[in-house]
């Protein structure tokens, strides 16, 4: 774990990562209970229905909560410290973890509007968020 980890893609998540490489954030939508899910799975964790379809998300959301990480977990993150580990309320409903990048760490606030961007890392593109520029 010296370098920043690169996620190993699973069958359930492959469409998510393929779309991210094309600059799109995809979410699964459960037709049976009419809601979006995160993270990608093989069934809906609310109704156990398998009728999941992929929909393109707006990429918009707000900071639900965050922490400015000063003590990094491994060498790969040390150069970034302090950096922001956050949980985002996506406009579509679910929450996802991401870093807030492209701004000073001390400007991050709970409720701050953010938009998705993609960080190239190894062979994948990682969904990240930055403050919405007016």
């Amino acid at each position: 774990m010296e370098a920043k980890p690169i996620p190993a893609i699973s069958a359930a998540s492959a469409p998510y990562w393929e779309a991210a490489a094309n600059g799109k954030l995809l979410l699964q939508y459960c037709d049976d209970c009419s809601r979006y899910l995160f993270y990608p799975r093989s069934w809906c964790p609310h109704c156990y229905g398998g009728a999941l379809e992929w929909r393109t998300a707006s990429g918009r959301g707000a900071v639900h909560t965050y922490s400015v990480v000063h003590a990094a977990p491994c060498v790969g993150f040390e150069a970034d410290a302090p950096y922001v580990a956050a949980v985002i309320d996506l406009q579509e409903g679910p929450r996802m973890m991401a870093n807030i990048i492209g701004c000073a760490t001390e400007t991050v606030r709970v409720g701050m509007p953010v938009e998705g961007i993609f960080e190239a890392r190894g062979n994948i593109h990682l969904p990240q968020f930055r403050p919405v520029t007016a």
Binding site: M1, E2, K4, P5, I6, P7, A8, I9, S10, S13, F38, Y39, H64, T65, Y66, S67, V68, V69, H70, A71, A72, P73, C74, G76, F77, D80, P82, Y83, A85, V87, R95, M96, M97, A98, N99, V110, G111, R121, L126
Partner: protein, 395 residues
């Protein structure tokens, strides 16, 4: 009509033993177990034939090769023949849940004397330790974002602060109180460091905002054992046992980013309510509180969700002085993981042992004058696994 579910056979904590938390570089984890048990068995009027249950966690969970058959390994060394034996793990909630499993087996008439034991070394944060600790994060949807355990718990603290106006000073008050209690425990790891102030906490290094170094528990090594028996046997062994009067258990999310709420500890609320219901008690009946405090914010959130104050008022409660020695809501009377020590895989034992000692009136210098009932809440993983115990002087 009383909602209380009376347990048959009056399951009780009959005896406890714990190694002083510290550094034991010369001892392996298995050696720590041997040390714990040889010293406990020498002190207790107990033979192998008296013990009919053994519950232990896996050994070296954070190492490269955890031992997931510790109950076989250790039961063999002790020469046990048991009706209940298992290696079980739910992080910091493991020991609370062991006590519950033991109490139910005793109430069911299946077992009479169950050893719940654990020993651990806080994982070294070297390459292997970090790799192993990182298993607690989702490999695709958390790990790539550089989470740490303090940062994941900080997510709860930040949200709580934003919703209720909880302040860093109020978080620090939990650490200050823990140290004040630790100064009254002869074995507390941080006792020799003396008292700390809110200012000391706020001036210690930032680890993951809002947590400073002194908002985080202190890693060390240790172990202990709790003997759960029928009430009759417990009275023969200790005179005044700690009866297991109420129990609650709940498991919520797995990964922290999947929790239902960041301002509430849902599992604490559910397990706590169950424990109060089963004991037919309310928070007003509790005289000693032990809450798992891997980070300073957690007792604040859990005090609210257990019903000791209204939602959002935990910060003010922590800073009120009521949780300090002499206060009317004595919290983490042994010093907590924050100042007594976080003993790795054994973490979660100390607070049950302390709750029992208080109820048994054997807590020495830190004995709370009126300790008829103690609540012990432990959580494990990313506050996913929850156990609430209510220990009582009366069956």
């Amino acid at each position: 009509m009383s909602a209380r579910r009376h347990l048959r056979n009056e399951p009780a904590i009959a005896a406890v033993f714990e190694l002083p938390p510290g550094r034991y570089p010369e001892l392996s984890t298995l050696d720590l177990y041997r040390e714990v048990l040889s010293r406990a068995l020498a002190a207790w009027p107990l033979k192998a034939r008296d013990i009919d249950g053994l519950l232990v966690p896996p050994a070296d969970m954070a190492g490269d090769r955890p031992d997931i058959l510790m109950h076989e390994r250790f039961g063999d060394e002790l020469g046990l023949r048991t009706v209940l034996s298992e290696t079980m793990f739910a992080g910091g909630a493991s020991y609370g849940l062991m006590i519950q499993r033991a109490a139910l087996a005793i109430a069911d008439g299946r077992a009479a004397a169950v050893l719940c034991a654990g020993a651990g070394k806080f994982p070294r944060l070297d390459e292997a330790g970090r790799r192993s600790m990182s298993k607690i994060f989702h490999p695709q949807f958390e790990l790539p974002y550089g989470p740490t355990i303090p940062a994941m718990y900080a997510l709860l603290a930040t949200r709580h602060m934003a919703e209720y106006g909880t302040t860093p000073e109020q978080l620090a008050a939990v650490s200050v109180a823990a140290r004040a209690w630790a100064l009254r425990h002869p074995h507390a790891y941080m006792r020799s460091r003396g008292a700390i102030s809110v200012e000391d906490v706020l001036q210690s290094a930032l680890i993951a905002s809002p947590f400073h170094l002194l908002d985080c528990s202190v890693p060390c090594e240790g172990g202990g054992v709790i003997l759960v028996t029928t009430g009759e046997l417990a009275r023969r062994i200790s005179g005044q046992p700690a009866y297991i009067r109420g129990m609650g258990e709940f498991h919520s999310h797995g990964y922290q980013s999947q929790t239902d709420a960041f301002n509430i500890s849902v599992g604490t609320r559910e397990a706590g309510a169950q424990a109060f219901r089963s004991a037919d008690m309310t928070p007003d009946d509790i005289e000693v509180i032990e809450i798992y405090d891997a980070f300073s914010a957690m007792p604040i959130i859990c005090l609210e969700d257990l019903g000791f104050c209204r939602k959002g008022e935990g910060g003010a409660l922590a800073a009120s002085g009521r949780i300090l020695p002499g206060g009317d809501l004595p919290l983490n009377t042994y010093g907590g993981l924050l100042s007594y020590g976080h003993t790795g895989d054994a973490s979660g034992l100390s607070m049950i042992i302390e709750g029992a000692l208080q109820v048994m009136n054997r807590a020495g210098e830190r004995q709370v004058a009126k300790a008829g009932a103690a609540l012990v809440h432990c959580y494990g993983g990313m506050q996913a696994d929850h156990s609430t115990l209510i220990l009582s002087r009366e069956a």
